[in-house]
């Protein structure tokens, strides 16, 4: 049975490939690294080698490093289960040379099938082909001929590799072992006038509200721009802070605050300090969320709720459809469905005082922000292209 429910290690190991893939699909897991590619599809056809991408690349990020530091046992259990379910011959944790010490605990658990490999510190955008090249003997072909005579760029599966983001794998653990669907995103908040933080935030939360919680005086910060991403790859989330809003996406890896008029790349040399408090959860701490049912690569899920309905946290609000790529969608906040328009489910929670909620979340709740490429694997890069 492919239900989302708690399972111990043996029960997870007993899952068939088909069942595990369906759980991952129902749980709504998409690539957290920035691609937004539906994770279930990566595992539908088992391949010999799983490479876990722990090479957090954008300058200033801490999310993946903290996820690994705080969830060692979960990752090891998951790897153990995945060896059985998907019959992986090799599971590799790929980390930067400079992070050797940070991942020493993982190295201690290397057993041949699971290993830790170190790749050059050269910034490489988490690009999968480059990671395969640096961590294995294989080379993903530049281009591959399709049966219909067209050509497409090569991908890791062409050489028997699945590359998956660290946070996506933690989300798989949560689904397979805890029966928890995807409702949150881990990301770093950093940049001008804000202390570096790593938060676990409900998907669809207001960017302005999160920055307010992080200590920014949002209403009086019109001189700041907020990027969803890092110095190199990003979308502009809010061009002028205090005017308009955006919401946290399934592949938001950072809210990076820069001075208005400057380019993200000008901050490429930025150094940040790992937040001592580790990852701080904002679950239940935000006033509302806008949860997209699809977008980008994802065919919208069929809504299971209507305007005015009350939903619980982690209640299913969207059923995946059979056309194209589609995943289950779950409430990242308990509260009332305040609107359901353009494939976005807005939930008003009221976790913070009403006047504060109105001040900070109004643009978002009023549908003032549009979904920005949710689930589009290559559009992320397009954002920084647009800045040229």
């Amino acid at each position: 049975m492919a239900d989302l429910e708690q399972r111990n290690l043996e029960e997870v190991k007993d899952l068939s490939v088909k069942e595990a893939v369906e759980i991952i699909r129902q749980a709504g897991i998409v690539g957290a690294g920035g691609g937004g590619f539906p994770t279930y599809f990566k595992y539908a056809r088992p391949l010999p080698h799983l490479i876990v991408n722990a090479t957090e690349s954008e300058p200033g990020y801490w999310g993946d490093k903290l996820v690994h530091k705080e969830h060692l046992e979960e990752f090891l259990q998951l790897f153990e289960a995945m060896k059985t379910i998907f019959e992986f011959e090799q599971i590799t944790l790929a980390v930067h040379e400079k992070d050797r010490e940070w991942y020493a605990d993982y190295q201690e658990h290397a057993d041949g099938v699971f290993d830790v490999r170190y790749v050059p510190d050269t910034y490489a955008l988490g690009e999968e082909k480059t990671l395969v090249k640096h961590s294995t003997e294989s080379r993903v072909p530049r281009f591959v001929d399709n049966p219909d005579g067209t050509r497409r760029p090569g991908m890791p599966p062409d050489v028997g590799k699945i590359v998956n983001n660290s946070e996506s794998l933690l989300n798989i653990y949560n689904a397979l072992f805890l029966g928890k669907p995807l409702t949150t995103k881990f990301f770093t908040v950093y940049g001008e006038e804000v202390d570096t933080k790593v938060y676990e935030v409900p998907i669809g939360a207001s960017v302005s509200e999160v920055l307010g919680i992080a200590g920014l005086d949002v209403e009086n910060s019109g001189h700041l721009t907020v990027l969803d991403g890092g110095p190199y790859l990003h979308d502009v989330a809010i061009a002028q802070l205090g005017k308009g809003d955006a919401y946290v996406r399934r592949m938001t890896n950072s809210l990076f605050v820069i001075a208005q008029g400057r380019q993200g790349k000008e901050y490429a040399e930025i150094k940040t300090k790992c937040p001592e408090e580790g990852i701080v959860s904002l679950v239940g701490e935000v006033s509302g969320v806008n949860v997209p049912l699809g977008g980008g690569l994802l065919t919208p899920a069929t809504p299971l709720v209507s305007e005015g309905d009350e939903v619980e946290y982690e209640q299913k609000i969207g059923e995946p459809v059979d056309q194209g790529f589609s995943v289950g969608v779950w409430a990242s906040l308990g509260g009332e469905i305040s609107s359901l328009e353009n494939g976005i489910v807005a939930i008003a929670g009221g976790a913070i005082p009403q006047e504060e909620a109105e001040a900070e979340a109004e643009p978002s709740m009023a549908g003032g922000s549009q979904p920005r490429g949710e689930g589009e694997p290559f559009q992320e890069a397009g954002s920084s292209r647009g800045s040229k």
Binding site: L125, T130, K133
Partner: protein, 87 residues
């Protein structure tokens, strides 16, 4: 190991690679674009963008196109700015 732009760029100069490059390391070398190996971060973003498949990883450049790797290594990038603007 930087990426290398080769022969088929000549007469094409599509510019998609320039737009894709996150670190602005692609320059206009006249008849074709050229990647500065000192600045390339080996991310491969440019490679699938090229409509004429002119771009190779540095260690996969075919023998008959090696001159482009040599040219990229020896090219004088001082005094020109990256991108599609005419320098």
């Amino acid at each position: 190991m930087a990426y290398v732009i080769t022969e088929t760029c000549i007469g094409t100069k599509n510019t998609a690679c320039v737009t894709a490059c996150p670190v602005d390391c692609i320059y206009d070398a006249g008849e074709h674009f050229i990647i500065n190996p000192a600045e390339c971060i080996d991310c491969s973003m440019c490679m699938p963008e090229c409509p004429v498949e002119a771009i190779y990883p540095g260690d996969e450049v075919p023998e008959y196109l090696q001159e482009y790797a040599t040219k990229a290594a020896e090219f004088d990038y001082s005094g020109i700015a990256p991108g599609v603007e005419i320098n």
